[in-house]
Symmetry: C2
Amino acid sequence: MYNNQIARITIIEDDETIREGYAYLIRNTSAYEVVSTYASFDLGKSKLTADRPDVILLDIQLPGTSGLEAVPQILKLLPNSSIIMLTVYETEKMILDALAAGASGYFTKNTSSAKIIVAIGEVLDGGGPLSPDVAKTVIRSLQKNQESPLTKRETQILRQLDTGKDRSEIALELFIDVETVKTHVKNIYLKLNVNSRSEAIAFARKNKLI
Amino acid sequence: MYNNQIARITIIEDDETIREGYAYLIRNTSAYEVVSTYASFDLGKSKLTADRPDVILLDIQLPGTSGLEAVPQILKLLPNSSIIMLTVYETEKMILDALAAGASGYFTKNTSSAKIIVAIGEVLDGGGPLSPDVAKTVIRSLQKNQESPLTKRETQILRQLDTGKDRSEIALELFIDVETVKTHVKNIYLKLNVNSRSEAIAFARKNKLI
DNA sequence: GAAAAATCCCCCTTAACGGGGTATTTTTTA
DNA sequence: TAAAAAATACCCCGTTAAGGGGGATTTTTC
């Protein structure tokens, strides 16, 4: 794993007990070493480049710059490092935002120590560890509504509307007449109880019809 | 876990060796029992309701109805069951499609037996297990491009364009003048080298600017 | 203090949008 | 196999948003 080198870990977490807990845990693992711990991103910022961590355990709710805001900044400083978010929050938005920002993994703090150690190994191996509950949230965010009121064709057309295409573009794409597209769109509006593209798209996304 | 009941597992996999391998593996785990195994969805379809599996291990590449097409059908028959996809394919599209269709977990076939057993436990506990490589793919699909050519405001406006809103709606949303929106949109088009909303949206999605 | 970003204004033409109504052919399903 | 649902296509209409052109000012940021 990872070139036989001992992997360098940095921990950024404001709660001292938790921070030292993780540090202790990792120090007891021969494959990893803790190169630094910080109580906030702002405190560690200028030293991170010198620390050269391979993996950063990052808390989301930090004083000053939040963990979420820190992610892109860290990646700019250390493009080859991986970030694992560790937090008590597990709202869908928080999780998706963290991953969108560039975090490699996401664990809730109730995750057992052993799993954190495994997770560090997984990111070093190029994987993207997610705790089962987090993964569940991510998966749910991807899942489509099974009970759409729309027909297959209508769903297809709605998807095209969602890409910003106009009627004629959709017609070309689906090998049908522009008028047919128009009829479908009208029926979509009727079924979704809306009367514009933007409303239809907003409704469709909210209800995961597309 | 799961009410102290022995969890009922069904395996749908066309390769007999693999199928029996999993069956053997699970039969050796006291918490689970294999209630049925099928070489294809079409063969098992009519019996699934009687089998009442809690978890279905489902291969993607099946003869006849594919595993992907089978997911929504299975969920219709057994709304309380969970599906774990097991496959050699790990393309982003395949994974996202399977999860979108309603699968609870996704593992590549190189996953160790022990992890499959753990994964079954996780779905029974309401989690969504993903193997690290699959999770990585999912995470990557969520990640945004860190080097967008657009400014913050432009990105914000592009996101609004993506929802199908028109200029005046965006203006209202962002508390700025319609004309300002127009200017931003013009600059976005210039930077992305496009000249319509649909092109801008398509480009932005492809390059994960939004 | 210079550069970049964000704000706002006017003119113009084209064509896309959405609402109205009607009708035929496939496909599905009961 | 008959009825229902889905997919296809056409016409008329008025409104208005889109995109291209050009110019200008004020904030932010570095």
